[in-house]
Symmetry: C2
Subunit: 119 residues, 2 copies
């Protein structure tokens, strides 16, 4: 059974440590030792996370240096962003409705104040 | 151990059937039976997927009708889109570089044609 690539990407992103690793790699290449540091994690534990990220195509390990730096690969993240795009209309509509409702509340409140002053 | 909400969302999205259910709900409320139809799935199997989506806050079951329709909740999808946003710079840079490279290839090719014609 081969999982579709989007499912593999989502599964890889379903972990806060793996997302933090990607965030660190966004600013440039890092060695496994450098990646392990801020998490207070053993190298094998970090390596396990890196393997999941690598299988999902979210990172690549360079072969040109002996320390084999990790680098971020942006394509699967673009696929995630593209996947959310058709739903944007929905949350924007909902925020617009909420905004209208708040405007209405404010208008009603101002109306009440006006009436009270008239009494 | 409580998982952070973004991890729960990503885990819920790591399944093509669950993503297809969300896509159907994007056009409006549906009963469990209606959701089960296109997948040729048993009701208990669909119910299991719906529970995962509900736990992630991606859908809600209405209590106002006896058929308890499911509806999409857009907020976690907005959180996913917002999470990808800082990485947009990366893939856009990469596409720009690819674009420049292709422009260069075209220019080189045109130059070659020009030289050949001159011979």
């Amino acid at each position: 059974m081969t999982a579709d690539s989007l499912s593999v990407t989502f599964a890889a992103l379903a972990d806060p440590t793996r997302r933090a690793i990607l965030a660190r790699l966004a600013s440039g290449e890092r060695s496994v030792t450098e990646l392990a540091e801020p998490f207070n994690m053993s190298l094998p534990a970090v390596s396990k996370h890196l393997k999941v990220l690598q299988r999902a195509g979210l990172i690549a390990r360079s072969r040109r240096a002996q320390w084999r730096p990790c680098r971020l690969k942006a394509r699967p993240l673009k696929e995630v962003a593209d996947w959310t795009e058709p739903y944007r209309r929905l949350w924007e509509q909902r925020y617009e409705r909420l905004d209208k409702y708040l405007q209405q509340l404010k208008a009603d409140e101002a109306g009440d104040r006006h009436k009270r002053r008239k009494k």
